[in-house]
Amino acid sequence: MGRYVIRRLLQMIPVFIGTTFIIFAMVHALGDPVAAFFGDKAPDPAAAAQIRQQLGLDNPLIVQYGNYMKGIFSGNLGTAFNGQPVTDLLKIAYPTTLKLALVAFTFEVIIGIGLGVLSGMRRGRLADTGVMMMTLIVISIPTFVIGYVLQYLFGVKWGLADATVPPGAPFQSLLLPGIVLASVSLAYVARLTRTTIAENSKADYVRTAVAKGLPRRRVVTHHLLRNSLIPVITFLGTDLGALMGGALVTERIFNIHGVGYYLYQGIVHQDTSTVVGFVTVLVIVFLLANLLVDLLYAVLDPRIRYA
């Protein structure tokens, strides 16, 4: 197992280098950051050239990338569009987004699995049909529509929740954004859970558990659920990374100053340091979440062994 983890960590290095380089090149292709710096006014060519030289922007792309990577390993991710070090922005943004992602994740686990079990155990009945229809609706409506509608209803019309999240992002203000962020994944979790429950409830080992005279509760929790949740947990694990990256839309709706907000600002300002810095951390989170899922998989299913 230890060996496997080390191998996986080593494999991350080329993936990491590759993704960061692609991001780096893409942001460059977006346009001239110095021009963006001056806004609508046309920059004075001499001044622009000087800034370019200062920032090393006149070097070939690959050299710039090399310099950037050097910076990363000494903990310097460059300066953001607003003059703050990118590391400072990361320190503000990531905890906020993580908090939001965890709230969303909790909804996903509790409501998603709950609904999935409910409908999987009552296939073809009213509860099942209801859940299937609801989840289909949630999946087919774009997140920002759900977001604005819920914001209007709960935040503005009924005043049951904060319409926007105040600075510092206190926990209860994140409940509404959390449900919006979770909505689509939650629907997928519910459907996936339903499918695996329905499949496994016909499995021979479930029949054995019934034949052993176990109470229905125990058959469901110890035998049916324990097996059915393996693919669901795998999905949830990969989704944790996706939630952090996908918070962009939700953060804009509820004015949350998290990863999505700064990433958006970085793109608007064509600021390589900010964009690459934020995306790099996202990539790392994603890779680690994936590794965690694979390890968890081996814990949940004894038939899987890593060497």
Binding site: D204, R207, V210, A211, K212, L214, R216, R218, I230, P302
Partner: protein, 354 residues
């Protein structure tokens, strides 16, 4: 229908018989099961009668789809419902009709008083729990045993069914065992609380031939030791001969012939049974083409009228297409009774004596 077989009794019992001499351990009377599916109602079991005494082995024989598994699942109370429903009959176990009991009462009987062994031990054991956990679960749930005590019991059970190094292997998972060892674990699990009745649904079909014999022997030994009733479901006539006391042959959800095991082999009283026997490869007929019953098992959505076997039967007459044959008591040609024999054929006399 209400046709009851002449009570089929065991040949002089192996060991002690249950408390009251003439009450069988299990008596299934006119059992009917149907599956309500999208395509229609499949009548899987249509009035099955049989009985098993303590220490006795009843083999249920029949082609695939004849209702062997479904009838025994109905006895265990583990029918897949919906779509399966018991629509009639009685299942009298130790003097009470199980079909009249509450679900909770039936659950408490399962595992403690009657247990089941399934065909495919790999899929029938839970892949994510150790065999120790799954064996110990019987004691934990039904007896409230502590975790450590349950594990000790699990090791004892594994030793009892001949699994070497049980102490170490108790912590392993089903996929780490060979097929034969896994089936031994299934047997151990069924045996755990020393039930009065074990139903084994094709316990050796998934195993290698050499292992088959060992597992069958183990099962027979344990049955004799604990004086349990055993229902052995199989479509392998060879397996049955050594271990069973009596045989019930099923066709299209009905028992078409019952007989003590050796008599059935010597003198079948039903054309279907004869067909089954003739399709066993025999050494003295080497080289000859193997006999096979022509045609296919009936569609349970549309069972033929009269005798269900009539489209495939070489002896079928007009009456076979219109009248359902009751289970006749089979006698010698001179009318002397043959204990425990019955045949659901209009022409049983011609079949056995002709």
């Amino acid at each position: 229908m209400g046709i009851h077989a002449t009570e089929v009794t065991a040949e002089a019992g192996r060991g002690r018989t249950a408390d009251s001499e003439d009450a069988p351990l299990l008596q299934v009377k006119n059992l009917q099961v149907e599956f309500r599916t999208r395509d229609g109602v499949a009548k899987a079991v249509n009035g099955v009668n049989y009985s098993v005494r303590a220490g006795e082995t009843l083999a249920i024989l029949g082609e695939s789809g004849s209702g062997k598994s479904v009838s025994s699942q109905a006895v265990m109370g583990i029918l897949d419902s919906p779509p399966g429903f018991v629509t009639g009959g009685e299942i009298v176990f130790k003097g009470q009709d199980l079909l009249k009991l509450s679900n909770e009462k039936r659950r408490k009987i399962r595992g403690t008083q009657m247990a089941m062994i399934f065909q495919d031990a790999l899929s029938s054991l839970n892949p994510v729990h150790t065999v120790g956990t799954q064996l110990g679960e019987m004691f934990r749930v039904h007896r409230g045993t502590s975790k450590s005590e349950a594990k000790k019991k699990a090791v004892e059970l594994m030793e009892r069914v001949g699994i070497p190094a049980a102490k170490e292997r108790v912590n392993q998972y089903p996929h780490q065992f060979s097929g034969g060892m896994r089936q031994r674990i299934m047997i151990a699990m069924a045996l755990a609380l020393e039930p009065d009745l074990i139903i084994a649904d094709e316990p050796t079909t998934a195993l290698d031939v050499t292992v088959q014999a060992q597992v069958m022997e183990l099962l027979a030994d344990l049955q004799a030791e604990y004086n349990m009733g055993l229902i052995l479901i199989t479509h392998d006539l060879g397996v049955v001969a050594d271990v069973a006391d009596k045989i019930a042959v099923m066709y299209a959800g009905r028992i078409v012939e019952t007989a003590p095991v050796h008599e059935l082999y010597k003198r079948p009283a039903h054309p279907y049974t004869r067909g089954l026997l003739d399709s066993i490869p025999r050494l003295d007929q080497k080289g000859q083409e193997l006999y096979a019953i022509k045609g296919l098992p009936p569609n349970l959505l549309r069972i033929p009228s009269g005798c269900a076997f009539n489209p495939r039967c070489p002896m079928a007459q007009e009456i076979c297409r219109t009248e359902v044959p009751p289970l006749h008591a089979v006698t010698e040609a001179d009318g002397a009774p043959l204990e425990g024999r019955g045949s659901a054929c209009h022409f049983w006399k011609e079949t056995i004596h002709g």
